[in-house]
């Protein structure tokens, strides 16, 4: 009892000791959105001024992600793929979950079947327009994955998982990594360095959209794969 109380006091003291310098630092931060803040006066001003031209897409975020920091993004795509590999290795061999005894409601079934294709179209729209509008490969990919998970709620996960053969699923999940690696290597002849995009605007746009599509399809397939593996519907 006494020890517990001492522990609590110690925790409180430690938290206070941590909080005071943090708060002191926070008071000295410039106001959010202030024009003179260091974050707005150095590199980001350059991004905003010339990013659209140099990055090759009207949406600055996409330009930064796919061009200036392509290596980081490649790492991210690899991490997503690796996450699926890890989950599949741990959970993929687990026995199948017991069947849900209650069939889905006919209302839910009908509405999800009706809306599913529209969600897919919206996901594709987000992916393809990632260089102009908010969104892009990652966001659209998540929407695709969400659609597959939604469908497997009404259609039985195994049916959805079997719509594509196990081998094709693996290729689909690797699409992001493969397309990114391909574009990166193509940078050598086209721009003179790895991960470079060519200067010619038409070609650059085609490559940007290809990257977005690859990331989107790969991301969606990985997310759906995570769900199938955890729900025990994965036989690959």
């Amino acid at each position: 009892m006494n020890r517990r109380r001492a522990g609590r006091i110690l925790t409180a003291v430690l938290i206070a000791a941590l909080a005071v310098p943090l708060m002191y630092g926070m008071v000295q931060l410039p106001a959010p959105g202030h024009a003179d803040a260091p974050a707005h006066t150095n590199v980001s001003a350059g991004y905003i001024e010339r990013g659209a031209e140099l990055g090759g897409s009207e949406n600055l975020v996409t330009g930064v992600l796919l061009n200036f920091r392509a290596l980081d993004t490649f790492g991210e795509v690899l991490v997503i793929f690796t996450a699926w590999l890890a989950v599949a290795a741990v959970a993929g061999t687990a026995s199948n979950a017991e069947r849900d005894p209650v069939p889905p409601s006919p209302v839910v079934d009908y509405v999800i079947r009706l809306l599913g294709p529209f969600i897919a179209i919206f996901a594709l729209f987000v992916i393809v327009n990632g260089h102009v509008l908010p969104g892009g490969g990652f966001q659209g990919g998540v929407l695709l994955g969400a659609m597959l998970i939604l469908l497997s709620l009404v259609m039985d996960a195994e049916t959805v998982a079997r719509a594509v053969s196990a081998r094709s699923w693996i290729w689909l999940r690797a699409t992001g990594v493969l397309v990114f690696a391909m574009v990166a290597v193509m940078g050598l002849p086209l721009a003179g360095y790895l991960f470079g995009l060519p200067d010619e605007p038409g070609l650059r746009q085609v490559l940007t959209v290809a990257l977005e599509l690859g990331i989107g399809i790969g991301g969606g397939a990985v997310l759906a794969g995570l769900f199938f593996a955890i729900a025990g519907a994965d036989r690959s």
Binding site: S105, V108, V111, L114, L115
Partner: protein, 118 residues
Amino acid sequence: MIDAAHALLVCFLVIAGAAFFFIGTLGLLRFPDFYTRIHAVTKCDALGAGLVLLGLAIWRGPDGEGVRILALIALLLISSPTAGHALARAAFRTGLKPWTRNDGERDGEIPGDASERD
């Protein structure tokens, strides 16, 4: 004149939507059990948000954004009652008993903390 009527209509719709949200939230807090509460939540979600969005669509006029907001309303009118139905059905199929007036009187409980405890 037209502008004023336009703005007035938009204001009316948005305020009506907000009133819907208010009443729905009040219902959520006052109603006694899961089934009656889900009544409040579903209607709030679909009709309150629908009215606010309709106001915004009229505010934008017939350009791309306005039409997209109308599509959003259609989606809301389809998906929100379906979600409410799915929740209520899950509770019904797993055997949650609805609160009735007689229960409340017999147990001497006031509406607001009957059933739904586990």
